[in-house]
Amino acid sequence: MAYGFHFDASRCTGCKTCVLACKDAYDLSTAVAYRQVYEYGGGGWSRNDDGSWSTDSWVYYLSIACNHCLQPVCTQVCPTGAMHKGDLELVSVDARRCIGCGYCELACPYHAPHVDRELGHSVKCDGCEGRVRGGGQPVCVQACPQRALDFGDYDELTARYGVFASLAPLPDVSVTLPHLVVTPPDQGRASGSDEGTILNLDEIV
């Protein structure tokens, strides 16, 4: 069985409770976050003939952590095998093997792994493996006040929510086959769109 996340972009308000709950649970420093919330938007303002102004601006949020992909590029490029899949098919780091080269960080299209310079090795979301083994849910899922996040057997998630996950600015699912299902928002753009940009880069670590 492979675990995955469902993210409902039509519900998310970008409050970042998921980010903070994760940072709190794992005592992460300000330089590290296992989950990020991206504010993605575009459009602008234009002046009408009568002097009034109108806008076609739009924005939506994506709460993204490691998607424990079926074909994770981080495990492919990792020179030591520290980045690996365990028996629950969750991708995690073996700190005893990791050299902290940062190749996983450079290659992951979901910006999931990071090299913690203080610890000297890569760190990332492990799907709250300990909580999951105990029958619980990841802390981000439990914390979300909008119930925009879900976690479970990927096949069950796709049966419940569909298979869509190619929402801009995420890459097309064919790249790494992420165990992620996204419910798109009304203004959602498909992967590869050049209509918007990430608007909160200074909040991303």
Partner: protein, 294 residues
């Protein structure tokens, strides 16, 4: 502006890898070019011996680069595990190729100090080191060929590293010969080497321009690649300028058959290395994954 600052931060963070990918290919390029000559049964034994001993110069340059690369690791103590990824990880392949090459070059250099080194063994070993050096250059070129980093994947970035290594390796190789007191009266070979070296760097500049034109308009979550790395064209221009300036120090003299001074060869090597460094800094500046682009 923030997106440019973000990629600039990535490039600065990888500055030791910039050093590695400048000095490593430069040293290996010079070593390979000199070894091609040493693999042939020509030249007086005394002259050959001086060159054999002075091969420590390009080897040292490559070793400094390799050492610099290790400083960016979080836990170098786990480095032996890197060999478990050979065949799977491009980085493991690179490290294995470079280590094998440097080890073979190092032991050959030690053997050249034997009381009676066998000429046949040295020549055969040179041929082996040419193959290992070429493999190491190719391995370094392919190290970041990963499909999810759209600005690094493909043949062109790999070719760029090899061309830069050969182009920067020529002045370093000439400096090595000069320090070995060989080539005081340079003939056609030195002039030809300079022309080939400059041609490699010209080809490198062309490769970088073609690569940038292909990826510049690709959209990521941070904007197009051109918006993410606005300084890239200026860095390639700086590389081209340094290449011309560096070879201007040696090429006219080489074409006229004049003696090239040590000082001039050191300056040419340094200026060309600076130029290749600008190009390599641009390489890390250009980092952009598919999708988010982070």
């Amino acid at each position: 502006m923030f997106t440019a600052a973000h990629t600039l931060g990535i490039a600065w963070r990888e500055i030791t890898l910039v050093l590695f990918t400048v000095l490593g290919p430069m040293g290996l390029g010079a070593y390979v070019l000199l070894s091609v000559g040493l693999a042939r049964p020509t030249g007086r034994p005394a002259r050959r011996a001086r060159v054999e001993h002075m091969l420590a110069v390009p080897l040292f340059v490559a070793m400094v680069g390799f050492t610099a690369s290790a400083t960016h690791l979080g836990t170098p103590a786990n480095a032996l595990y890197v060999l478990t990824g050979v065949g799977r990880s491009p980085l493991s392949n690179e490290v294995a190729c470079v280590v094998a090459c440097l080890a073979s070059c190092g032991f050959r250099w030690l053997y050249s100090f034997a009381r009676r080194p066998r000429a046949g063994v040295l020549r055969a070993w040179s041929a082996v080191n040419v193959a290992l050096g070429s493999l190491a250059l190719a391995g370094m070129g392919r190290a970041y060929d990963v499909s999810t980093v759209l600005t690094w994947s493909g043949t062109l970035p790999s070719c760029s590293l090899v061309l830069g290594g050969l182009g920067a390796g020529v002045p370093l190789g000439l400096l090595t010969l000069r320090l070995a007191k060989v080539g005081r009266h340079p003939g056609d070979r030195v002039a030809r080497a300079c022309v080939v070296g400059l041609a490699c760097l010209a080809a490198d500049v062309a490769v970088l321009c073609v690569h940038f034109s292909r990826v510049a308009s690709v959209a990521t979550g941070m904007g197009t690649v051109a918006q993410v790395a606005p300084a890239y064209p200026a860095l390639v221009a700086a590389f081209a300028a340094c290449a011309v300036l560096g070879y201007a120090l040696v090429l006219p003299g080489a074409l006229r058959g004049r003696e090239l001074s040590t000082r001039r060869l050191v300056a040419a090597s340094a200026v060309v290395a600076l130029g290749v460094g600008a190009a390599r800094f641009g390489f890390y500046l250009l980092h952009a994954t598919v999708g988010l682009g982070l």
